[in-house]
């Protein structure tokens, strides 16, 4: 296959991945604001999209981690990256359909590592870098966000005891929208970077860029736009799980949880840790549930989520390995992988249309829940 053509195919696929990432992750930033009624779903999603776009321009550290550290660029080809991407997209779509807040980032790393491992051998992966910049942050960041959210929530409730409930209710709703905006911005600084990193890596492996290059401007712009579009168009299904299933959220608590989440993600982005924003957001929500009330977390749902997380890397890795191996055999392989990817995506899309979860449904349930909180407060 023409090398230039395959690079174009990989870039297009990477941008589709970026789109599904935005689609998948709207929930992280906006779930709590929607759940407490601080923002209407459509407004929340539009705000999140714009801030993701801005966030993508703020930092390129995570992009550099991906393009220059995880795999040995001289040993892999654009076709292998293509296989890894298809693996990641498949996993993202399946978890989206089931409503599981799994991590788009881990799907991407799993897919890429699986594809490189099988198609180019063990030596093509920098395992120590993977451990340092991906695996350890994957475990540490949600714990950090959870712990900090727990302390922050405790402090907020403590200091807020004697305030006028009407003033604090309105105040925290505003604070919640502000902190949700910071989470969206943080999301752009970490997740949009992953696609930039992949595209940059593709350009390096095809010889268009020198090894170690930073992402070119057109890559930054296109990744930013793709994630913003995805954010705008997606996410009702998962917002549903995150806003309701995990713990009941009040505005003050949502504010504390999101502030901790945004701070944890931005600090990590700055150091080039490619972490899962989904996991950090979930850690923040759980921690704040505990900070408010010792029984504030639904451990059953939380356990299921953690299990889903543990699955993501290997599952996307296996799909990525199969797709990468096949795609690296030549043109027929690339076309075959693309065809299967398109068919699976189409099937999931059709299935999801059968029982759509629309914004209106969420509003009704959320409104009912917000009423409960008013009575409780």
């Amino acid at each position: 296959m023409d090398p230039a053509l395959i690079v174009v195919v990989v870039i297009a696929t990477a941008l589709i991945f970026d789109f599904t990432n935005g689609f998948h992750d709207t929930a992280n930033a906006m779930a709590t604001s929607i759940a407490t009624g601080a923002l209407r779903p459509k407004t929340a999603v539009a705000l999140s999209a714009v801030l993701n776009l801005v966030g993508a321009f703020l930092s390129v550290e995570v992009a550099k981690t991906i393009s220059g550290g995880i795999v040995v660029d001289s040993m892999i080809t654009p076709a292998i990256i293509f296989g890894g991407l298809v693996g990641a997209i498949m996993w993202n779509l399946v978890t989206w359909y089931v409503g599981l807040p799994s991590s788009s980032s881990h799907a991407l790393f799993g897919g890429l590592i699986g594809a490189a491992w099988v198609a180019a051998g063990t030596d093509s992966i920098h395992f120590s870098k993977v451990l340092d910049k991906v695996v350890v942050p994957a475990i540490a960041a949600p714990l950090v966000a959870g712990l900090v959210a727990m302390v922050a929530t405790f402090v907020v409730y403590r200091l807020n005891r004697k305030t006028d409930p009407r003033v604090s209710h309105v105040g925290f709703k505003v604070g919640q929208v502000a902190s949700a905006s910071m989470v969206s911005l943080a999301h752009g600084t970490n997740d949009a970077q992953k696609t930039m990193g992949i595209i940059t890596l593709t350009l390096i492996t095809s010889g268009s860029l020198a090894p170690g290059s930073a992402p070119p401007t057109w890559v930054i712009v296109s990744a930013a736009v793709a994630i913003a579009l995805g954010t705008y168009l997606g996410g009702w299904r998962i917002t549903h799980t995150m806003g309701r299933g995990l713990t009941t959220i009040e505005p003050a608590q949502g504010f504390a949880a999101q502030t901790s989440t945004a701070a944890a993600i931005m600090a990590s982005s700055h150091l080039g840790f490619a972490l899962s924003t989904t996991h950090v957001a979930s850690g923040g929500i759980m921690g704040s549930g505990l900070g408010r009330n010792r029984n504030g977390v639904n451990w059953g749902t939380a356990g299921k989520m953690v299990l889903g997380w543990a699955f993501t890397l290997p599952a996307a890795g296996i799909v990525g390995a199969l797709a990468g191996k096949w795609a690296s055999t030549g043109t027929a392989g690339v076309v075959g992988v693309a065809a299967i990817g398109i068919v699976v995506s189409a099937v999931i899309w059709v299935l999801s249309r059968r029982e759509p979860v629309r914004p209106e449904h969420i509003v009704d349930e959320v409104a009912a829940q917000a009423e409960l909180h008013k009575v409780a407060a």
């Binding site: 395992f127 922050a152 402090v155 907020v156 305030t163 003033v167 504010f255 600090a267």
Partner: protein
């Protein structure tokens, strides 16, 4: 296999300090508002925004 524990510690410390700073300043602002003290509220919310903006400045500045 080298894990950069220092970097992890930095993330933890930065997260803890900025989150607590923002959250405490914000609640103090709300307390001041509900006590009817406008200047104190403005000062608290202003300081809170300043912490956020400084954090962003650090990230953008590289």
């Amino acid at each position: 296999m080298s894990i950069n524990w220092m970097a992890l510690l930095t993330v933890f410390a930065a997260t803890l300090i900025t989150s607590l700073g923002v959250v405490v300043l914000f609640v103090l602002g709300i307390r001041a508002l509900s006590a009817g003290s406008k200047p104190a509220a403005v000062a608290s919310f202003g300081a809170c925004s300043a912490v956020v903006l400084y954090g962003l400045y650090l990230i953008v500045g590289g």
